[in-house]
Symmetry: C2
Subunit: 345 residues, 2 copies
């Protein structure tokens, strides 16, 4: 039997309840494929702030770092919203991403035929949408220096953030994107703002230069403002998208809403080595926490990504994906994706 | 009779044809309200590059600067896409915005009842959408220093852009936004990424501080990734949005596509003094240029904004707005908004 160490970071709000469901599903899928999991559950985010006063305790980071893969629930809540920046739950996410060096964030946005009505887009526009957004996750304006709030020569406050990418940071995320596109429909759209931003000019140059190594992938470029439009006008045109940290943040959330089922969407954050970080893209939803209303499918599908991308256990991953489709076909729904005629889970 | 000097900058692609229509409409509306216009037509963008080798000739800038208001068509085209940055048509836009100091960009996104079917959003989601996006236009990452592509200590290329806002830049755009909201439905949503960007932390702080001067306006804050989602989930929730240059670029394009009729949407760029710059938000559409297919309504409505915001001629502006509604009610349509049963204009 193969054994894996899985770090479970339930976090805040609905995090604990969706993680506990996904854990059971992992165990079940694993047992059917001869896998065993040792789970280590550790506090993170607001839960960790309440417990020990920091968003990412060292023991949590160490457990995560030493694991084979990490499954995270959700982070944040009203309770800590007034905290100073370094004492905010979200800081745990930054530290985890940065210190685990998981630079490649894969965010699928898929409209399942069973859920096409959940989209606010017209049926003919939404149906068949199936894209993967590859977001750079450890660079750009999220981490660039200088940053901060300073006083200028007029005695006035000035806020600064720096969008910065080195060639190797662009190359490594572009390679992940080309590889991803190659395994999908072979189309890669790189999104930037090269008509304005120098950081984007370098981005476009490096991505373009790599294209010759992937002759089977059709590369195109799109400005981010146009991409925000095209996602609504005709989302089916996209296969794989690659973009920087901040544009990826915005566009992947936009794409997720196009599917109409943000409670369904998983994500994977991967580095060159070391464990990957897997989490639903929805937040902690404090308003419905503890009421057994949360849709666990995003976390369950994150567990599937964990098996596939984190452990290379494609068969066990497939079992989970199939089980999700199966449950939907049987009509089971949580409130967020319920339509008349479904069985309310 | 009142006389006004209007600088017309037709620009590229469909620019000249939509400007010539809007000019006639301006003249007609003006004559009905006792206004006379002296038009001065000047080259800009690609047209200027072809003519004199720079995107914004000094004579063009001077004519614009000395006018009472500027009506611009569209800028750019495949022909100049490979030009070096400083010889790209779009540079004319930056220079105009920067040197005219038009820091406040007003971009309405309205779904007209006659055109609700043009949206890819479901009818019940799209109908009644009526928002105004107030985008900061002369600061932030578009203009911040340092920027460029340099070589780092490893001999590697690094691309840098700087998001930077001084307190007074935030205050003046926030005031425009509060005033705008006050004249509309009294709701202002400030969009930032204050959970990550220091520039956004200052943004939120300043906007919040001003709120007490506008007790009749209800202020809320939203992260940009959430805003990109909410625009699709429930665009009717928005009245007035204020945001920085780059987020405004992305969100206003997203919002325009929600209305389904990007060929319909005008914009106004205003400074503290001096002429305003009025232009359709669509681009130069080189593929349909010269074929009399372009929808002129965005430019006609930009002329209405010119009258209203640029010259304070509300009555003449109203005449144009009414005429547009009238033409739509009679069923006239260009191809981009045509549905069966309409009269093809
Ligand atoms: C919580 C927030 C800091 C985070 C981000 O911006 O990266 C989130 O929006 C995400 O996309 O994972
Ligand atoms: C053409 C481009 C540089 C410009 C911008 O990004 O400001 C355009 O997208 C706009 O929104 O007016």
């Amino acid at each position: 039997k193969k054994r894996y160490n899985i770090a479970l970071l339930p976090g805040d709000g609905i995090g604990p309840e969706v993680i506990s469901v996904a854990k059971n599903v992992l165990q079940k899928a694993g047992s059917l494929e001869g896998l065993e999991f040792d789970f280590k559950e550790m506090p993170v985010g607001g839960a960790a702030l309440d417990l020990v006063g920091v968003p990412l305790p060292e023991e949590t980071f160490t457990a995560a770092k030493l694991s084979d893969a990490i499954l995270l629930g959700a982070i944040g809540g009203y309770k800590w919203d007034k905290n100073e920046k370094h004492l905010r739950p979200e800081m745990a996410l930054f530290y985890l991403r940065r210190d685990l060096k998981v630079f490649a964030n894969l965010r699928p946005a898929t409209v399942l035929p069973q859920l096409v009505d959940a989209s606010t887009l017209k049926k003919e526009v939404a149906e068949g949408v199936d894209m993967m957004i590859v977001r750079e996750l450890t660079g750009g304006i999220y981490f660039g220096e200088p940053r901060g709030i300073t006083i200028n020569e007029n005695g006035e406050e000035v806020g600064v953030s720096t969008e910065i990418y080195a060639a190797h940071e662009i190359d490594r995320i572009a390679r992940v994107a080309f590889e991803t596109a190659r395994k999908r429909r072979g189309k890669l759209c790189s999104v930037d703002k090269a008509n304005v931003l120098d950081a984007s000019i370098l981005w476009r140059k490096r991505v373009t230069a790599l294209a010759s190594e992937y002759p089977d992938v059709e590369l195109s470029h799109m400005y981010v403002d146009n991409a925000a439009m095209q996602l609504i006008r005709d989302p089916k045109q996209f296969d794989t998208i690659v973009t920087n940290n901040i544009f990826g943040d915005i566009l992947s959330d936009e794409a997720s809403m196009i599917t109409g089922s943000i409670g369904m969407l998983p994500s994977a954050s991967l580095g060159e080595s070391g464990p990957g970080l897997f989490e639903p893209i929805h937040g902690s939803a404090p308003d419905i926490a503890g009421q057994d209303k949360a849709n666990p499918l995003a976390t369950i599908l994150s567990a599937a990504m964990l098996l596939k991308y984190g452990l290379g256990e494609e068969k066990a991953a497939k079992r989970i994906e199939d089980a999700v489709v199966d449950a939907l076909n049987k009509g089971f729904r949580t409130g967020d994706i319920y339509s008349p005629g479904n069985v309310c889970a």
